[in-house]
Amino acid sequence: MLNIGRIGLDVTLDNPSAWGSSASRGRVDQITGELHAATLAETKALRTELLEQNGQIVPVVWSEDSTVDGFYRQLDADIDAEDYALNDNGLYDFSVTLERIGGSAQTEFQSLLTSVLVVNQHDLLDTEVRPWHSPPVAALAYDTGDTSPTAHTRTTEDGVIPVIIDLDTDVDPTWSVEPVDYYKGGAKITVGGRVRTGLDAPNLPADWVVSNGQIRFKPGQSAGVSTGRILMEVFDGTAWSTSKAFAVLFAGTTVVPKWHYVTIVRNTPEVAILRLVRDAEEAPATTHRHTLDIHLRRGSRYATFNYHFSGGAATWKVQRDSAEATTAITPTGGSSVAAVRATSNDADGDRFVLGSQHDTTQDNTQGGIEFVSTRFYSFFIGSEINGSSAAANDQADALILQYMGAVYEQVRAVPR
């Protein structure tokens, strides 16, 4: 088994034919081999995703020689396609150059965080919101200096993930993780059934998934065509829940029926951002376009959505596609309703949460919120997993305050 970053995680990567290492001012490894999978589609996926990893920090794990395991920066990748490349199951010769950062003994990571109170209309102050951060599953030696944030955990399909809440906004925490755990609990984007490593992906607006292992979002689709809906599923520790569909309505009444383009905007384990674009051929029929960005962080129980309409100001509504009664939630320290939360546990035992930093009108019958006279607005959709039995830091009030303490993250590798 060989993993170079995400390559090899969902489609097996064969053992390399050669592995050369050279060291002058640093160590550079060159791996050559063949990309060859069970199907032609999987072989092509290996090729595309290997190329897309250039420039990234990648964990490398090789079952035949654990002494090479560690963290590298992929400098370049070369793929040779001979005339037989597309025959049968496909075959590409590859060569990838990796600059070694170090093994888990000498490498730790620093999350460069910028955290600021989201400008909001609920009178929430920066002392009342709850910025947070998650390293990967199984991360250890998490350090925030001499501050005392709240340590919490959540369950993902990859295992238990630390969630550090009430972060001091001046801190850039450091943490360590084994290469084999680097992506666990992280954000990932799947398009066309393939986990993507970079920004390149086919335009399949009806076939994508943004997930962090505990909450994921997919497109509503009918006969392979986008219906404009966004589906949410959550992981309760054992299984994924039934999909819960949300719709965006123009003028408060007309459902945005379809998305035309899907683009990966950012694809890192700490944050994944997917962009949906729609031509306003209808709803309304104008020479404008709709843009919806879906932003999902590692460790989060909600995704942030940013909607932009290039036409004039209008009323917009985000709601459950099938009516689900909700209760308005005013967050601790807030002066007005910031979210709606399902009144009762659903069949999976969870309660969805839908909120925004903007002033909204709540529809507690359908389960939605309405934005008046605007062209762009932000909101979040999340879940109280385990509903009324959710831990305090996973309840709607906490999720709102975590959302309002927005965090921008960049990760870099540093020597220990």
């Binding site: 910028t114 951002i273 960005d293 932003h295 762009f376 921008y408 960049q410």
Partner: protein, 370 residues
């Protein structure tokens, strides 16, 4: 880079020509003090348009100051149109008649200070207040800068030789209040509301070489050259090697008379100009900036937390996430000449029509896109 534009400075340009340049029809006809005009697209027959129309559509106009032909190296070098007001040495058109103003609108002052080679464009007086001051025996550039500093204004010379000015917090001349461009080290790209540009390199510099503790205005009266009595000093915590408070004075000459009131705003601006300069240099490729998305003098956003390019009071939604970029001003931009542009020589003459323009586009050595 061929064209270097600077905020309220002449800048410079270099046009490299190929060794196949037609010596008779092109090279020998390009004289100093003519102008190089860069159009965003090549116009095959410039004579189909008027001289004024072409200048109005120009991306850049510069004055030719040097032509070089050495073996296979052929270059045209010059500076931007601010050169017509005065250069770095203080040489240029002069104010040699005593001009005195008391509580005058800037739009009534600039026409007198502009030389014949630059026409009055649009002067917006809003928020600039009234100007009081005197000018004599100084370059037009010095006089104009005095008025701009005194009134908190900024200005631009357009490629068609017109001069625009407004208060520096307003948008009439430059894009100030609502930038449209964001420079980031990572995650750049397009967005509905902004244009993202990759900041390939961010360099942070702190420069104190121009710092002074005091600015003193000298009276440049024809009969005397003494202190006008207007001194501005800043409080600071810097010391020299022997523990004395650091003292450095800049003398600024202004023509005054006995009735001059305290030019308080001018002195404050001089002190600001001569403070410790915290500057960031971003290498942002301008390939992505088309059709005036970002021009020298415009504000833009820069976001790179490790380089302290952050303003937590400025929340912006960009490509699906909240960022907090710092608003910075573009003070200098280097623009390459790329294939597709039109490069022309406009002769120096009492009257110029478009038929006089020389199209040198086909001989320009273009820069490769990175």
């Amino acid at each position: 880079m061929p064209i270097v534009e600077e905020f309220m400075q002449p800048g410079q340009f270099t046009i490299p020509l190929s060794e196949e340049t037609d010596l008779y029809r092109v090279w020998e006809r390009m004289q100093v003090f003519g102008h190089i005009v860069v159009l965003p697209q090549w116009v095959q027959h410039p004579r189909m348009h008027s001289d004024a129309e072409l200048l109005a559509a120009a991306r850049y106009t510069g004055v030719v100051l040097r032509t070089t032909w050495a073996s296979r190296n052929i270059h045209i070098w010059g500076q931007g149109l601010w050169w017509h007001l005065g250069d770095h040495h203080g040489d240029g058109p002069k104010i040699d008649t005593w001009l005195s103003y008391t509580d005058e609108l800037p739009s009534d002052v600039f026409p007198d200070l502009l030389p014949d080679g630059i026409a009055l464009g649009t002067i917006t007086d809003t928020d600039a207040g009234l100007y009081t001051g005197d000018h004599l025996h100084e370059s037009c550039s010095e006089a104009i800068r005095t008025v701009l500093k005194d009134r908190g204004m900024h200005a631009r010379i357009n490629p068609n030789f017109t001069f625009d000015a407004c208060h520096q917090l307003r948008d009439e001349v430059f894009l100030i209040t609502a930038p449209k461009v964001i420079a980031l080290r990572r995650g750049w790209g397009s967005d509905p509301e902004f244009e993202g540009v990759e900041a390939a390199r961010v360099e942070t510099t702190r420069d104190a070489s121009n710092w002074v503790s005091t600015v003193e205005v000298l009276d440049e009266d024809p009969d005397s050259f003494t202190s006008a009595g207007f001194i501005g000093a800043r409080s600071h915590t810097y010391f020299d090697g022997l523990g004395n408070p650091l003292t450095r004075t800049a003398y600024v000459s202004r023509a005054t008379d006995d009735d001059l009131v305290n030019p308080g705003g001018f002195i404050e601006n001089e002190l600001l100009d001569r403070d410790v300069d915290d500057r960031q240099v971003l290498d942002a490729a301008q390939w992505e900036l088309v059709n005036g998305s970002l021009n020298v003098g415009d504000n833009f956003y820069a976001f790179d937390p490790p380089s302290s390019l952050v303003d937590t009071a400025n929340q912006v939604r960009f490509r699906g996430e909240f960022i907090w970029p710092k608003k910075v001003r573009c003070l200098e931009a280097s623009t390459p000449l790329t294939e597709g542009m039109g490069i022309y020589y406009r002769p120096s003459a009492a009257t110029v029509v478009s038929a006089d323009w020389i199209d040198i586009t086909r001989w320009v050595e273009w820069e490769e896109r990175p």
